[in-house]
């Protein structure tokens, strides 16, 4: 029943989209609005139906039978609907239609832009029909209970991380559609740049949140490489993030100074293409990743075709707009020129990530070598390239639009205190990387403090959000470098399992409290209780092992607790009746890292809901 309904909605959506694309010029205004409304609804329905299938465990749908278990808790059943490839593509279409419907509310002159959104939507509907239709009938389903969701995915972040990341990726479709419209019509209306800014901020908000949640999840699971591993799947989310960051900065110039217009529009194109490229790379299995997804060459090829089609279209628009490129006029020491520099650095950084991500593919084809590109490469390229951008961040917000005078006194003060801070930091921590990080970040923090009086006087949300965003980037860098440089890793073995105490460090004492067993709806749990004492502070940890039904799969569950900004992270290495081996990791300042990302997300959230307008 649900199965047929799902199929009907997919095909009726296809029919409606096709008829709008071919006939919209003949439609009256109210009729085309009606058509678009039905497109939006029929586009959302297949995913909702699949989700209902999961909730009521309708195992006549093959996808439900292979991805959920009848006794799974409800929220995992809901989340299972995007647990598989087919479901996640339906979610993708669902979100395109959500954006379509919200966009219809905000723009009266919608046809030209909506057309471009539908051109993307239709390629994904064909994708579903040709290679990833989840509505496949399963015969003889009456006895089965379902294969169950992969136990490693059973985490509360699995419920929110994928949809939020998708909201971020697909939000870029609106700037893309607007940019295609403006570049092909060669009319650059100012109000559309405000729209681009608004929508790119919305996607940037979700994209950042999605990346941070993913990072936190990877940090919480064992063997996923920690909070950031430069894994291809992580990188492909970073590329659109970097381009969208650049886009937000350049669009501000386009609105305020009427310059960098073509540049911003091209960024819109490439940010969205980067998002789709990421999906292609993840789904095609061309590149070895820790976070792998089930893949199939046909699906990959189809997505590659979409990327190639969009890319050639973007190049065509680039060539068409080339002659307009030379009209921008700049003063060197002005806010707009610094924003342009920000763009240059961010785009170069995106380029290095892109090359690092696809290089293994080339190495395999050209040199027949299997390589993996990890942290050493990115420390050498990405970190070095973004360093000057971080330095500029301290002064850029102080500059006004147009010409500025050089404030030599300020620069001398800033440089000398920064050098002083660098020396102090080196003397205290004796670590060259952290010294470098404090030299980079101190100017931003200092200038943020200096700006507090004008922040209180000025009270504009734009200023506040920009102030907070830059400050949180500085805090983030400090925390990230500190936690990576000063973390510690201990292994302890308890051969007597009742109340044994050991010192793993002269300052850190670990006591084993006992072992307990409990049973839950779809798993058994064995928990080890430990107490850690570090210079007077007491931290209780309870790492565990879960044994899942129906598969009998055993997973190792991390237990972590924080004291202020520091985090202790423990896992059971092995457990027998009278022998327990634990791994305990000490991560200093990691919570400052999470806090700074939350502040960053809050800052952009503020600017989305601000009242005042750029004029």
């Amino acid at each position: 029943m649900l199965l047929q309904l799902g199929q009907i909605f997919i095909y009726s959506n296809l029919f409606l989209v096709l008829s709008f694309l071919f006939l919209h010029k003949k439609f009256s205004n109210s009729f085309s609005q009606l058509t678009l409304l039905s497109i939006g609804i029929t586009g959302c329905m297949p995913f909702i139906i699949l989700m209902i299938g999961f909730i009521i465990s309708d195992f006549s749908i093959l996808n439900v039978a292979t991805n959920s278990f009848i006794d799974d808790p409800l929220f995992y059943k809901i989340a299972s609907s995007w647990g598989s490839h087919e479901g996640s593509i339906l979610l993708w279409i669902f979100i395109i239609n959500l954006y379509l419907l919200t966009y219809l509310l905000s723009d009266k002159n919608y046809k030209n832009i909506v057309k471009n959104i539908l051109l993307i939507e239709i390629s994904f509907i064909f994708y579903v029909i040709l290679s990833s239709n989840p509505f496949v009938y399963l015969e003889s389903f009456s006895n089965i209970k379902g294969l169950g969701l992969n136990p490693v995915l059973q985490h509360f972040l699995f419920v929110i991380h994928p949809p939020i990341l998708f909201l971020g990726y697909i939000g870029l479709i609106i700037p893309f559609a607007i940019a295609v419209h403006m570049l092909s019509s060669q009319k650059f209306e100012k109000k559309y740049f405000s729209e681009i800014l608004k929508w790119s901020k919305i996607s940037w908000f979700f994209l950042t949140l999605g990346i941070v949640l993913g990072s936190y999840w990877a940090y919480s699971e064992l063997g996923w490489g920690g909070w950031w591993f430069w894994d291809p799947v992580e990188n492909v989310s970073l590329i659109p993030w970097l381009l969208t960051t650049a886009l937000i900065h350049s669009t501000a110039v386009s609105i305020k100074k009427n310059e960098l217009k073509i540049w911003s529009l091209n960024l819109c194109l490439y940010a969205f293409i980067a998002a789709i490229f990421g999906t292609f790379l993840v789904r095609s299995n061309l590149i070895i990743s820790v976070h792998s997804f089930a893949s199939d060459p046909l699906r990959g090829m189809y997505l590659l075709a979409i990327v190639a089609y969009l890319l050639s279209f973007a190049l065509f628009l680039n060539i068409k707009s080339l002659k307009l490129f030379n009209q921008d006029k700049f003063d060197l020491l002005s806010r707009e020129s610094f924003l342009l520099l920000n763009n240059v650095f961010f785009i170069s950084a995106a380029l290095t990530v892109f090359i690092g991500t696809i290089y293994p593919l080339f190495a395999e084809i050209i040199y027949q070598e299997k390589v993996s590109v990890g942290a050493p490469y990115y420390n050498m390229t990405f970190n070095i390239l973004l360093a000057p951008a971080i330095l500029l961040m301290s002064i850029a917000p102080r500059l006004s639009w147009g010409e500025n005078k050089t404030n030599l006194k300020l620069i001398i003060r800033l440089v000398s205190t920064t050098i002083l801070i660098g020396v102090i930091s080196f003397l205290i921590w004796n670590n060259i990387y952290f010294t470098f990080a404090s030299i980079l970040c101190f100017p931003i923090i200092a200038m943020s403090i200096v700006a507090i009086p004008s922040l209180l006087k000025n009270r504009t949300i734009t200023f506040l959000s920009q102030w907070l965003a830059h400050l949180s980037i500085a805090l983030f860098i400090l925390a990230a470098v500190f936690t990576e440089q000063f973390d510690k890793d201990y292994n302890i073995e308890f051969s007597n399992t009742s109340n044994a105490t050991q010192f793993i460090d002269p300052l850190i004492q670990v006591t084993l409290n006992g072992i307990s067993e409990s049973s839950h709806s779809n798993h058994q749990k064995i928990t080890v209780g430990v107490t850690i004492k570090k210079s007077g502070k007491i931290i209780e940890l309870s790492p565990s092992k879960n044994i899942y039904q129906p598969s009998g799969e055993i997973t190792t569950e991390v237990s972590k607790k924080s004291y202020l900004f520091d985090n202790f992270y423990s896992t059971i290495t092995s457990i027998t009746e009278n022998n327990v081996v634990l791994n305990i990791v000490y991560k200093p300042l990691i919570n400052l890292l999470w806090l700074s990302t939350m502040l960053l997300i809050a800052s952009i959230g503020l600017s989305i809901f601000r009242k005042e307008k750029y004029e």
Binding site: W224, N379, T381, T571, T573
Partner: protein, 149 residues
Amino acid sequence: MKFQKINKQLKNRIIFFIIIFVCFSSSIYLISYALKDKISFFYSPSEINKLKISEDQLIRVGGLLKKNTLKLRDAIWYFEIIDDGGMSVSVVFNKTLPNLVEENKGIIVEGLLRNRILIANTVLAKHDENYMSQSAVDKMKSKGVWRGD
């Protein structure tokens, strides 16, 4: 006056082009340098036995976790990785093994090679949404609920 203005704009533009040029060319230089020296190679166990690999070179080794080799002694894991050719390499790892690491299943290890033994600093676990461990598949087959393959 007008000439001066145009001149100034030209000067600004040239400076911008130089900055952009320097930035992009240095990124190309950094990328090519880093791709030569800062990547880790991915080997199979038979390649490790065949090739000469520097002890300072961070490498990744992939293959299957050999049956009956996974042992824990003094809080340290010992196991072997085997490939299609039947060659294997011994691995030492002193942290907790991630989920889904199981005998006869695929495994990826990153570390340094010392005396033909791989001192692992990271063991990576792949997490595919369709993943099922062999024991789980066997169990489900015996219960008659398995529909894969």
